[in-house]
């Protein structure tokens, strides 16, 4: 893997049945590239949580995954409502998900905490009314 590889995914808003397809695809690609299973698991979990968040809160968005020799970087960009209180959103158990989402088994307030836990670096850029961009890195 000498050159950086980049994969881009469009995430549909409000389509729960397809949420996870992008993460699955990345997982399979990383497997084919021979990335270690620990790193793959971290990327898959962090990206799936992000994907679900985009579907629940932001009406979809774009995910760009780049793979280099040293790390895997995921950039999740949406044009949703933004996150008013990041500290609160990072608390385990805090969620603003709708009841309908909770009935599917989500909305436990673990999304952002899981994303932080399973990545080596995470940065949140958010502007109310304009959108959120989350950058996550998993070291190889």
């Amino acid at each position: 893997m000498s050159d950086e590889l980049i994969f881009t995914y469009q995430i549909d808003g409000d389509d729960f049945t397809r949420a996870g397809e992008a993460s699955s695809s990345v997982k399979n690609k990383l497997k084919m590239l021979g990335v270690g299973s620990d790193a793959i698991r971290k990327v898959a979990i962090a990206m799936y949580e992000g994907e679900i968040n985009m579907v629940i809160h932001a009406n979809g968005g774009t995910i760009t995954v780049s793979v280099s020799d040293t790390d895997i970087t995921m950039v999740l960009a949406d044009q949703g409502p933004g996150i008013p209180d990041i500290d609160k959103a990072m608390e385990e158990g805090y969620s603003t998900a709708r009841d309908e989402v909770r009935s599917l088994g989500f909305g436990a307030g673990m999304g952002l905490p899981n994303m932080k836990r399973f990545t080596d670096e995470m940065k949140i850029d958010t502007v109310i009314g304009q959108g959120t961009t989350i950058t996550m890195k998993v070291n190889l």
Binding site: F16, S37, R41, Y48, L104, G105, F106, M110, R117
Partner: protein, 110 residues
């Protein structure tokens, strides 16, 4: 313990067989997908009553070997087909979560 030992449990209906030779790591019970996402062990058996497409997505991303749907819950046909493609076993039982998890645990004792 191999997956085969679980496929043979009399209380379970096998909906998708998976790979019977797969070595099982642990039994895990959880219905909240957000928590399962972070905690479900690779090569584990995951017992849940949450039966929707996202259950399979979480199982797939966490490398779960087998999903056991308790309390008579099932997955729709499309999701079962996808599970077969991904090599994830799916079982259904009328038993509650704890009872079937205990049986699986005991089936794996030396």
């Amino acid at each position: 313990m191999k997956l085969q030992n679980i496929l043979e449990l009399p209380e379970c209906r096998v909906l998708v067989k998976g790979n019977p030779d797969r070595e099982i790591s642990r039994v895990f019970c959880c219905d909240l997908l957000s928590i399962a996402m972070g905690k479900a062990p690779a090569d584990g058996v995951w017992v849940t009553v949450m039966g929707n497409k996202n259950t399979l997505a979480v199982a797939s991303l966490t490398d779960t070997a087998c999903i056991v749907m308790a309390e008579g819950v099932s997955l729709d046909e499309g999701t079962l087909e996808k599970a077969a493609e991904e090599g994830i076993a799916v079982l259904s039982t009328e038993l509650p979560v704890f009872d079937i998890a205990l049986e699986i645990y005991e089936a794996g004792r030396p």
